[in-house]
Point group: C2
Chain length 430, copies 2
């Protein structure tokens, strides 16, 4: 092939950065065929030049400073795999755009926080800013939403966006194990970080959801508008009860455009156990897109890891090299609209509610009246055998605004009839 090479700089040589080098080494010919020109790494930057990474980096130019890498005049594109929503990642992406280079990043925090400004800058400069790897790893979710379903009015996008949480929840269900036990094991297996807060607390999924919502609805990314609750308080008891009812607990990220505004939330919900999302095991991710013309399209695959992430980055590099990169959010960033946030409490769904009642007469009546007083109606109810002095009662409600559910829980709590605070989870139709 005699076409001009597409020249890359890579900022960050952790597993993903070295994975990109390895993929280009192994698949150079196929990549060149698809890109219409050879793709060549020219320069790299990382914290340590001497660390053994299993790939030869001595053949590339070296920059200590990633921002200096971004400013080099012998590159067509810069790959940012440093991470972090500010600091060097942001500085180098800004510098690359300012100096007329395409940018490919796997940095969801950066795109969720600064994607709007960066996309506007990239479009003004006539360069690509691409982030397929930032959302759901190797699954072509942004590509699907931005182009594959371009003509659809998307009504809802949701999914299992965090592999750590799905591993923990599906293992808890499979083995009846407690959260702490499985988290500990996930850490040993490398599926959870030493400090797992970002994953188990739901923030990782929230950043991905905010990016998906922008593509789905043509709205400006609003990560602060995502209502987030993590999986830390999901109990083996609720998972077992869910299973008895043919349900499964999943950390679901869901965005939908309603007449009252954009709803974005990440939280543990119950879904049908035999649904695609409910059946999803281990660290796999799934993104489900619902549109008026298309119906429901589901994309599933590995959400993280060296191979999938490097693969997603290469897909963006190939598109940029072909001159075919699409705008980060599927349409020009300046044209994205600011969505009204759906008011807190206005979202509604059927709920699962578990109360651990004191074993005394009249307790259940008090629960029923607390629910009735705030307008929550009961679809079905099951009282289990008492254990340890408490009587577990599980209710499924009819469609209920979250504000009413919160009020009901506050009343039940205040009545002093429970041995522990009630547990509520939305039942999500997926």
């Amino acid at each position: 092939m005699t076409a001009t090479p597409f020249r890359l700089g890579i900022a960050g040589l952790g597993t993903v950065g070295t994975g990109i080098v390895r993929l280009i080494d192994a698949q150079g010919d196929a990549i060149a065929a698809k890109a219409g020109r050879p793709v060549a790494v020219i320069a790299v930057s990382a914290r340590s030049r001497s660390r053994d990474r299993g790939v030869d980096i001595a053949r590339f130019a070296w920059e200590d400073d990633p921002v200096a890498l971004a400013a080099r005049d012998d590159l067509d594109a810069v790959v940012e795999v440093i991470g972090g929503e500010d600091g060097p990642a942001k500085a180098l992406v800004e510098r690359a755009i300012a100096t007329g280079k395409h940018v490919v990043t796997a940095n969801k925090a950066l795109l969720a926080r600064h994607g709007q400004a960066l996309a506007e800058a990239a479009e003004a400069a006539g360069v690509a800013l691409a982030g397929e790897a930032a959302v759901a790893g190797g699954i072509p979710a942004l590509r699907g939403l931005g182009e594959g379903l371009a003509a659809n009015r998307i009504t809802r996008v949701f999914g299992v966006l965090n592999g750590t949480c799905n591993f923990i929840l599906s293992e808890m269900a499979a083995r009846g194990a407690a959260y702490d036990t499985v988290l500990d094991e996930a850490q040993k297996l490398g599926y959870a970080e030493a400090d797992p807060t970002f994953d188990v607390g739901g923030m990782d999924a929230a950043q991905k959801l905010a990016i998906l919502a922008a593509l789905a609805f043509g709205t400006r990314v609003d990560v602060d508008g995502v209502s987030v609750e993590g999986i830390e308080r999901v109990s083996a008891e609720d998972i077992a009860t869910a299973r008895d009812m043919g349900l499964a607990v999943r950390l679901l990220g869901l965005a939908q455009m309603t007449e009252q505004g954009l709803e974005q939330r990440v939280r543990p919900v119950m879904v049908a156990a035999d649904s695609t999302v409910g059946a999803l095991q281990g660290v796999t991710n799934a993104v489900v897109i619902e549109g008026e013309a298309i119906g429901q399209v589901t994309l599933m695959g590995p959400g993280a890891g060296e191979g999938p992430t490097a693969s997603a980055i290469l897909s963006d590099i190939v598109a940029a090299a072909r001159g075919a990169a699409r705008p980060l959010f599927g349409r020009p960033a300046a044209g994205l609209i600011s969505a009204t946030r759906l008011a807190h409490g206005a979202a509604h769904a059927p709920y699962y509610l578990r109360v651990m009642l004191a074993d005394a007469p009249g307790m259940l009546a008090q629960v029923a009246s607390a629910l009735g007083e705030v307008g929550v109606s009961i679809q079905r109810m099951h009282q289990y055998d008492g254990r340890g002095g408490a009587v577990p009662v599980v209710l499924i409600t009819h469609d209920t605004p979250s504000a009413a559910m919160e009020a009901a829980i506050a009343r039940i709590d205040a009545a002093g009839i429970c041995q522990a605070s009630p547990v509520a989870m939305r039942l999500e139709a997926v």
Copy 2:
């Protein structure tokens, strides 16, 4: 928006053609935002000008002859939704390319048969030839294979590629019904054609598989190299037996590159009932892509219908309007290689084998020796209670070349110990 419109001609105004008009009417602004310019239908061609289609076509220029439509000098692109592998569809696509227009088609027969020559012509003319809608309807499968997983060495691509067959097989399983009963119902529901041969015989899936294989492996489309068997002889009995073993029968299209050549086949197989493919119900399609870097990625959604097909066509139109269309097969057609076909009989897998033995001593021993003589070893076996004078025996074999399986069946048949020919199906690890 002041950008020059992207001017379309549509050849064929059946449900898909009118669906495209409807989508552009309904989503024109969003499409323009994603395409970077307005998309406007200028001219149409169909068999009847006067038929009521529920959309106003009087506003478009009319051509009686689709080839004349393709030759018009006021169009940027032509959409072909007439169908058929030769005849007017092929003529108009050739004419559109020859006169410098982009072509978007939903015609899998045309692409499976003439895709190589048409893609070469389009690439020589510098125009796009796009066919996302031809394979698995609204699922962005070509987009995923051609670009989303561009850097992967794909090892296997498989899926449920025909909704009619999946509807029939999943209904048979759900209700214990016979093939003819469910086919009849599928025809009444509009899920099967009056002449269902093309679908139930596997040819529809074979054409789609051949296109997917070309993208996956960088090989020239070889639809004649697909080994095809339909679902017409799948019995309620085998489906029930499969279920007892935790398996499900699916019409699977599968292509894999082996060291001995390219294996392409469409046939009923047994898969784990709780696998994604095994759990797939109704007319939904699924495409599963396995690559070295990515692992396994699954795309699921509606495989046919006005909305999904029109949506897929619009996604190609948007890409062409942005000047970002990729080559039909993901890389230049001239560079595709002719794959060696895997020899007949060389494919291997574990098999399910059901024999209906005459109820007399020594019959089972004859089956066991017939298998042993051709080197087929048995993993497990179950003999059921006799019914109607026959004793059903179900065997699962170890990994077996298909040639050996065919030889074993011929021997068992020749021994005259069965009340009906043995039934064999591959067990596919999916």
